[in-house]
Amino acid sequence: MSCNPEGRVPAFARGVRLQRDRVREQWVIQAPERAFIVDDIAAAVLQRVSGDVTLAHIIDDLTTAYDAPRETIASDVLSMVADLVDRQALVWRS
């Protein structure tokens, strides 16, 4: 485990996934006994959670894609991922 949070690798917990809801045209997290709607920003982050890339890599990628300050993106990503880990939707792969 790295002390720098950006060095860590998030992954979806077993039984949890991001999915496009084609009928309602939105993104959802499918989890045991419930589906949560996620906004497009969260979906952009979660699409990059593959279980083998670091948060640093995800943040860099989003910074390029959205042309926004890296710091802002980093703080959003870190807090969102921490929240989903807390709710057991994501786990740390390393």
Partner: protein, 363 residues
């Protein structure tokens, strides 16, 4: 005409067969025989139609869905359609071979029911000897596979005192979620209400025990608590509102807005063998009957909560008042609340009427 919002989840009752005989089972009193069950191909078509309609999650239920030999084939198909697959099981038919097949079919989650923590009581309630050991083994297999596991406990007068031990068992087995659900009183539960309804003190203790568990586990364990609405002042929004989020399909293919809806007299129950699912959801008389707020009588019609609880449970209204379109009598504002208050004081230790195929006429 605008179409109603599409359903979120489908409860697929694959069969009414079950080795257990819980006296609060949510199946109807008239259980459907094997010969009428939908075939593999028919279920596959239903899942295709459900996915196209907007269903996101399928709950494979029963009876005991594991008695169907085609279960993993059905799961595999639902997974292929992007549906989230949940198996609701008693666990008594689980072994490593069956779990292996389900796991490789892509099953997402297992909800395992326990009748109690104390084996003697659990087996008295479920009416099956040796069940507890099999359930514990089933839980271990699921957790060893890595699949998320929910333990479900239906609580009532005879087991409600052991909620703390129920959480201990869940922790020991490695469950990620726990559901503590007070018995709902319609169908079999209503027949056994005198023996099952908890006292007010027991209810308060259960609320306290669940709050303590929430404190103890924090976010490590997700906890769902269903309170018995007889002691509440307002009813629950049954199924998130009639025909708004949820579909139930019986073993023979009848499509219902909730699993007790077949008790409602004078309506035709749509059938997947005859009509497509989208048409049933969007156009059938049954699904439109209590959808939204137009059907409501007073006091619901002019109540501020009408879009929160949707007037409560239609089946409970029917079972207690004889009218499916009455305000749920659990509500303090209902003119029929006296029926619920009377039931609360009418309890005794009469023996159960076990849920049985064919033998359910006598008490």
């Amino acid at each position: 005409m605008t179409l109603p919002a599409p359903p979120m989840s489908l409860l697929a009752e694959l069969t009414h067969r079950c080795p257990l005989q819980c006296p609060y089972c949510s199946n109807p009193e008239a259980l459907e025989p094997v010969a009428q069950e939908l075939s593999t191909q028919e279920w596959i078509r239903v899942f295709d139609e459900a996915a196209d309609l907007g269903v996101l999650q399928v709950h494979f239920s029963g009876g005991e869905p594991m008695v169907r030999r085609d279960l993993s084939e059905l799961v595999r198909h639902a997974v292929r359609k992007g549906l989230y697959t949940n198996l609701i099981t008693s666990g008594v038919l689980m072994d490593s071979k069956a779990l292996g097949a389900l796991s490789s079919a892509g099953l997402d989650h297992v909800q395992l029911s326990f009748q109690d923590v104390a084996p003697i009581m659990a087996e008295h309630i479920g009416g099956m000897k040796g069940a507890q050991e099999k359930k514990i083994e089933a839980a271990r297999l699921v957790v060893a596979d890595g699949m998320p596991l929910t333990l479900n406990f239906v609580v009532h007068r005879l087991n409600v005192e052991r909620i703390p031990q129920m959480f201990d068992l869940a922790e020991e087995l490695g469950a990620r979620r726990v559901e503590i659900a007070h018995t709902q009183y319609y169908g079999w539960g209503l027949r056994n209400r005198r023996a099952l309804l908890p006292t007010r003190e027991q209810l308060q203790q259960s609320e306290h025990d669940v709050a303590a568990a929430r404190e103890r586990f924090g976010t490590r364990m997700a906890i769902d608590f269903v309170t018995p609405d007889y002691y509440a002042d307002e009813p629950k929004p049954c199924m998130g509102g009639w025909g708004q989020r949820f579909l139930n399909i019986t073993p023979s293919g009848r499509v219902l807005p909730c699993h007790a809806a077949e008790t409602i007299p004078g309506v035709l129950f749509p059938d997947v063998r005859e009509t497509g699912l989208a048409r049933i959801w969007n156009e059938s008389k049954l699904f439109g009957m209590f959808r939204g707020t137009d059907w409501m009588p007073e006091p619901c019609r002019s109540c501020a909560r009408k879009e929160e609880d949707w007037g409560g449970c239609r089946c409970q209204a029917l079972a207690l008042t004889g009218r499916a379109d009455a305000t749920d009598p659990v509500c303090r504002l209902s003119p029929d609340r006296g029926l619920v208050d009377k039931a609360i004081v009418q309890t005794d230790d009469q023996p159960f009427v076990y849920r049985r195929m064919g033998r359910n006429a006598a008490g």
